[in-house]
Structure formats: structure tokens, C-alpha cells
């Protein structure tokens, strides 16, 4: 019953599983994102206050959500690798970090593009944008720590620990940035989230969210294949896998 779990520790099995899963994820992601884009950008009614500018939410909110999701995946995979000494966990963590950083960057860019018509400026020190920016710094720290070591195994473990420390800190940072705004009584800005959202706006958003998750899964699987091949480049099965 637990054999599938043990198989996750074996590089050739992870490689073939990732190769088999990637196209499925990609295909389903195309459906989810395709429906979400068409329904969100074309069919959803314009917002009564923000007009058409609100439509960037269909990219912004899913990427902001995925930036946290990818960080959690990275930290949990690193923790598993650290505790049970499953090396493939480090491969997952290393594959997940750049994707998560890209989602974070995407969320920041779309957020500031949305800010231009709404706030009149590309960058306001909105608490959500600020904590997203700090998340980007956390990603940068983990990624550069991993590559800073000459011994890759040591870099993996150091990055895994930093990922876990960061995961504990993410909620602290998020809430302190939220409260910081209330401490300073900064400019009151419009929030993206509205208490009620009609279904014609909500369903495309959920579809985009699901599509982004599947897309993340597809990219993660593809990157994971590369990570496994690079880590196992001395192994015999890699030569056989490449030649076949």
C-alpha cells in the first residue's frame, strides 16, 4: 500500500512519473485558463466602479495565490527532504523556487499595472503588494543560498532549512505589514477583494485559479525532470533514459 510513497524517493521513478504527468497537467491547464480568459475578459460584465480595469484580477489574483502555494510546496518538500532524508524532496524544492518567484513577479507587475488607473500611480505601499515584494525577497534568499555552496547537497539542505524558517515567517510578515498600514494611517486604497461578486465574475476567476495550479504542476513536472537528470547525471539509468 505504501509502495507508491517509497517510489517517490527513487529518482528514475520520479523522472518517469513527472514525464507522464506533465502533459495531462498542461492540457487541463489550457482548458482552465482558456475558459477563464475568454469568460473573464470577454463575457464577464465590467465592474460598476472600476470598469474594465478590474479584469486584471483574472491574472493577478491567481498568480498571487500561486506565489504562496509554490512557496509552501518548496518549504514542505524541503522539510520532507530534511527530515526523512529523501533527496528527491530537494529536487522538488529546487524546481519549485524559480516558478514561485516568477508568479510573485507576475503578481507584482499586474498589481502595479492595476494600480496605475486605480491609484494613479504604479506603486503604492499597499500592504498586500508590500508583503508580496517581501515574499520575492524570501525567494531570492532561498535561491541564492542554494547556489552559494560548492557542495550541492549542502546547499540543498541549507536552502530547505531557510525555506522552513521563511514559511513560519510568511504569516508574521503578512499580518505585520497589514497592521503597519493601520498603524501609520496611510492612504485608504481600494481593495481588490469585494465582499460580493456575481457568478459571472467569480466562475472565470475560480477557473483561472485551477488553471494556474495545473499550469504550475505542468511546469513543476518539467523542471523536476531537468533537476533529476542533472542531479543523477552520473547514474546509469539516465544514460539509458536519454538514449532510448
Amino acid at each position: 500500500m505504501w509502495t507508491w510513497f517509497y517510489k517517490l524517493a527513487s529518482p528514475p521513478h520520479v523522472y518517469t512519473a513527472a514525464a507522464a504527468l506533465a502533459p495531462w497537467f498542461l492540457g487541463l491547464a489550457a482548458i482552465g485558463i482558456g475558459y477563464g480568459l475568454v469568460a473573464g475578459l470577454v463575457f464577464a460584465p465590467p465592474d460598476y466602479q472600476q470598469g474594465d480595469a478590474f479584469r486584471i484580477i483574472y491574472v493577478h489574483a491567481p498568480s498571487a495565490w500561486m506565489s504562496l502555494f509554490a512557496y509552501t510546496t518548496m518549504a514542505v518538500a524541503g522539510a520532507i527532504a530534511l527530515i526523512w532524508r529523501i533527496k528527491m524532496g530537494h529536487a522538488v524544492a529546487a524546481a519549485s523556487a524559480p516558478i514561485g518567484a516568477s508568479f510573485t513577479l507576475l503578481a507584482l507587475v499586474t498589481g502595479s499595472l492595476w494600480g496605475r488607473p486605480m491609484w494613479g500611480t504604479y506603486w503604492a505601499w499597499d500592504p498586500r503588494l508590500t508583503s508580496e515584494l517581501i515574499l520575492l525577497f524570501l525567494y531570492a534568499g532561498v535561491m541564492s543560498l542554494r547556489s552559494a555552496f560548492e557542495d550541492p547537497a549542502r546547499g540543498d539542505r541549507a536552502a530547505a532549512l531557510l525555506g522552513v524558517v521563511g514559511l513560519v515567517n510568511v504569516p508574521i510578515i503578512h499580518y505585520s505589514v497589514l497592521w503597519w498600514n493601520s498603524l501609520h494611517q496611510g492612504a485608504t486604497v481600494a481593495k481588490l477583494g469585494r465582499p460580493s461578486m456575481p457568478g459571472s465574475m467569480l466562475w472565470p476567476l475560480l477557473s483561472m485559479l485551477l488553471g494556474f495550479m495545473l499550469f504550475y504542476g505542468a511546469v513543476l513536472c518539467t523542471r523536476l525532470q531537468g533537476e533529476v537528470l542533472n542531479r543523477e547525471r552520473q547514474a546509469k539509468w539516465v544514460r539509458e533514459a536519454i538514449q532510448s
Partner: protein, 226 residues
């Protein structure tokens, strides 16, 4: 001679303090850095004391964070380079005890010293004397928390040749809540509002990191030392 955990801790703290006071220049450098950075802000921003006072908490806290970071690099490095740290790890007391003692000693010579110097800087930035006690309390809590966060970072980068920049990259994002609540408490003390909320948060963060960070730093040291 058999020594308990407390005994070992006191011995390590004494050793660290002794070593620091034999190199007084290294002890003073972060404090001088603190003074210089706070001097830069009035020169770059404005000379008007009334305007400076509005920015003073932020300036003070940013300078304090940076100067504490400066001295963090040496927390484990010299001991790791000459093998002392490995000997301490093997002494039978558990590495956590050593980490706690070293970090606490580091806070005494960097953070606590910075708290003692801060009134001078605060006067220059136009912070009223009435806010000094809150400012020093918040700085004390903040630098202690930062020492713990920094211990994790220093332990992770101890084996690296140029770990100093990386250390800042790792520790500064984690330290941002400290800046928010620390500067917030000082700001409120200056404007005469009760700073209790921000101080409670600082204290909570301090207790939280004091309890968890030693273990994280120990794991980090084991990763980089082995």
C-alpha cells in the same frame, strides 16, 4: 571537571565577552557605523529638526538593523575557521547550548551596546527625551530578536567565503516585522500615543524567536559544519 548546561553556557558567554573586550576596535566598529549612518540621513534629507523628528524612528531603526547585521557575520565565522566551533560541538553539551550562549553574548556586545548609544543618536534626530525609555525598550527587544534571526542566517552562511551579502539578503526580509513594530512603537511614543500594542507585538516576536530560533540555528550549523 564536570559542567552542567548552565555552567557551560556561562563559560561560553564569559569566553565570548573576554574575546570581544580584547578586540575593542571590533566592538566599537558597529557602533560607529550606527552613528555614521544616522548622520547620513539629516545630510541627505533635511536639516530641519521638526521634519527630521517625523522620520527619526525609521532612520534610527534602519541604522540599528544594518549595524547589527554588520557584526552578525562574525558570530560563528572565526570559531568555525579555527576549529573551535567543532570542538565546542563535540564537548558533550549539545550544540543548542553553545548556540544560545554565543548568540546571547553577541547581543550583549552588539544589541545592548547599541541600545546604550541610541539616546545620543536620538537627541541628534530630535526625538524628545520623554520617548527615550520606549525607544530603548523597543530597540532592546528588536535587537535581541534580530540576533536570533541573524544566528540562523550566520549559521547558514558560515562556510561560505563571501557570505556577508547573502546573510543580509536572508535576514533582512525576516526582520521587516521588527522594523514595522519597532519604528511604530517609537513613533507612537514621540507623538504621545500609547505604544503598548506595538511593544506587545515586539515582545511576542522576541519570545517566539527566542524559543524556536536556537533550534533552527543548531540545525543550520549541523548542515554547514558536518
Amino acid at each position: 571537571m564536570k559542567v552542567g548546561a548552565w555552567g557551560a553556557m556561562i563559560l561560553v558567554v564569559r569566553r565570548e565577552l573576554c574575546l570581544s573586550f580584547r578586540r575593542p576596535d571590533q566592538l566599537l566598529q558597529p557602533l560607529v557605523f550606527f552613528l555614521i549612518v544616522t548622520t547620513l540621513f539629516p545630510l541627505g534629507l533635511t536639516l530641519q529638526l521638526s521634519l527630521l523628528r517625523d522620520m527619526a524612528p525609521g532612520v534610527l531603526w534602519v541604522a540599528a538593523l544594518l549595524s547589527s547585521l554588520l557584526s552578525l557575520d562574525s558570530l560563528f565565522k572565526s570559531d568555525a575557521d579555527d576549529g573551535t566551533l567543532e570542538q565546542l560541538a563535540l564537548c558533550g553539551q549539545g550544540l543548542t547550548v553553545i548556540v544560545v550562549a554565543k548568540t546571547f553574548a553577541h547581543w550583549l556586545v552588539s544589541g545592548a551596546a547599541l541600545v546604550l548609544v541610541s539616546p545620543v543618536v536620538a537627541t541628534a534626530l530630535g526625538i524628545p527625551v520623554g520617548a527615550f525609555s520606549i525607544m530603548m525598550l523597543s530597540l532592546g527587544l528588536g535587537t535581541l530578536t534580530l540576533s536570533w534571526l541573524g544566528a540562523i542566517g550566520a549559521a547558514l552562511t558560515v562556510g561560505l567565503r563571501r557570505g556577508n551579502v547573502l546573510l543580509s539578503l536572508i535576514v533582512l526580509p525576516l526582520a521587516m516585522p521588527l522594523l514595522i513594530f519597532g519604528a511604530g512603537a517609537t513613533d507612537r511614543a514621540i507623538s504621545g500615543v500609547s505604544p503598548a500594542g506595538a511593544l506587545y507585538f515586539l515582545a511576542a516576536l522576541c519570545v517566539f524567536t527566542c524559543t524556536l530560533a536556537p533550534f533552527a540555528a543548531t540545525v543550520a550549523l549541523r548542515i554547514t559544519l558536518e
